[in-house]
Amino acid sequence: MTAMVVGLFLLSFVYTPHDPNEMQLTMRFIGPGENPRYILGTDYFGRDILSRIIYGSRSIVLVSFVAVTLGSVVGSLLGAVAGMVKKGPLSAIIMRAIDGLMAFPGILLAMMMVAAIGKGQEGAIVAISVFMIPPFARLVYSLILDSETHLFIKAASSYNISRCRLLFKHYLPLLLPRLITLFTACIGTAIMIETSLSFLGLGVQPPHASWGLMLNEARQHFLQYPYLAMTPGIAIALSVLGFNLLGDGLNDALSKRRSR
């Protein structure tokens, strides 16, 4: 399923059956399967749904990957700084701020960021990445505190190397597998927030295609034409499910290796 999403994303650069934004007003509301030229049917403006689904995967993949990457880098660095300086006021301030960020209900924080930055793809990216900072900061922070007692870390610190070197040379290999697992799990959440934002009309702006936005546009007409709401919804559910399962799988594989 994950491969499907990535595949759709790659496909969107080379091929869509029709121009996703092309409007054919004579071809409005063709149901799925009614016309071989439009396999999944057309919407209110006569735009091809299949093309819009393929094209819409771009914003999903782009926004979620960029946002989680940003969030994980900033979050990990904050967590690392807090973990390395330990009992200083700096560490306390960072971790309290992280607690503060975590206290916001997810979408509320994202909406607030959108209000500050503006609607659209950039707004969504920043909003989601801020939301992703706390889990990474907390993970890195707690892992660094936990692994302090490892012999090789103690040995390395006794050489009096710089904290920076200690972090990248000795802690990073230890942290990396856990970070990758969290990263995968967060992609699912990011897709969910991105689609929610576009559904509320705060993410990707029309006429561009995004799955959440397609559902938002379907709201006007889905009482007569329920099929409009089907495809984008299934696409969202499958991609979130795919990344969640991948995250779970990685997590299981990791804990098995650790217990061995």
Partner: protein, 318 residues
């Protein structure tokens, strides 16, 4: 015990303080200040300057922040300029809707999670267990707004069980009230149930594997007593904690669900505030909602302390 409550409370207050700083800082970024947004682009510089002075926008940010904070402590969240009303009044009008769907969905989600979670743990690796796992995965992957739309088409339009949208206050008939919040609550509940179910199942499995379970079995107690009196009690601690955390997600979820079902709740108010860039309204709403979430998680922590004998004993040992 008191020292624990004190510690948790002071921690919550600190977090709240940081929340207020983050909120204030983020909303300072909004291009154009409140005076500009109120008067529009046609405003004369004199009028702008006058309104800025009236709103206190010409003072340095830390004084503005201090005034805002002082207002917060006195439950004065400022005035919305889109609605021209006090933010507190606006919230009061819309809170019943949001609380209704939040509470009902929590009830639905926890009932399903507890029953199914226990069954899945007792009958591990059977159909029930697989069903529970399936629900967990699907519940967290299906977007609430989509599920809401599907339910509107099927239960609202085809079967006509529930109204398609709108809200009926309870004083205009209990039946209509329950009907109007049924679908939104179910939609929200399905999003919540996965995490809860997972926690109930895991902690129930843990409880079943403990020594006192063998003891209970050796005493020849009925399996009903064993499962519900012994195992469940020790297995409920983690789920209650999760419920507290889930409440935060729930409040966020109401924004989407209220929008789908056209309910006049706090979530809709937040959406309006974001769209219109009503800074004071948004600031007030964010602080209110987050404070509510923090308060609930504080209460949950204290409740868990009373339920969990282990924490209680640790406290006495201190």
């Amino acid at each position: 015990m008191l020292s624990y409550i004190y510690k948790r409370t002071s921690n919550a207050v600190q977090v709240l303080l940081f929340v207020s700083i983050i909120t204030f800082a983020v909303l300072q970024w909004i291009p154009g200040d409140a005076a500009q947004l109120i008067l529009g682009s046609e405003a004369t510089p004199e009028n702008l300057a006058r309104l800025r002075t009236a709103l206190g926008l010409d003072r340095p940010w830390y004084i503005q922040y201090w005034h805002w904070l002082k207002g917060l402590v006195q439950f004065d969240l400022g005035r919305s300029y889109v609605f021209g009303q006090d933010v507190v009044t606006l919230i009061q009008q819309r809170l019943p809707v949001t609380i209704s769907i939040a509470v009902f969905s929590m009830l639905i989600a926890s009932t399903i999670a507890i029953v199914l979670g226990i069954l899945a743990a007792i009958r591990k690796n059977t159909m029930v267990d697989y069903l529970a796992t399936g629900i967990m995965q699907l519940g967290s992957a299906v977007p609430a707004f989509w599920l809401g739309m599907l339910m509107i088409v099927y239960f609202g339009l085809e079967l006509k069980w529930f109204p398609v949208s709108g809200y009926v206050p309870p004083d205009r008939g209990l039946g209509g009230y329950l009907n109007s919040i049924a679908m939104p609550s179910i939609v929200l509940a399905i999003g919540e149930v996965g995490m809860l179910l997972r926690t109930v199942r895991t902690s129930m499995l843990e409880a079943l594997g403990q020594d006192f379970m063998d003891m209970a079995k050796a005493k020849g107690l009925s399996s009903f007593t064993i499962y519900f009196k012994y195992a469940l009690r020790s297995a409920m601690i983690a789920p209650i904690n999760v419920m507290g955390l889930q409440f935060a997600k729930l409040v966020g979820g109401t924004v989407v669900v209220e929008s789908v079902f056209g309910l006049p709740g706090v979530g809709r108010l937040i959406l309006v505030a974001v769209e219109q860039r009503d800074v004071f309204l948004l600031q007030g709403l964010v602080m209110f909602v987050t404070a509510l979430v923090i308060l609930i998680s504080l209460l949950v922590d204290i409740a868990v302390m009373f339920i969990n004998p282990r924490i209680r004993i640790e406290m006495q040992g201190e």
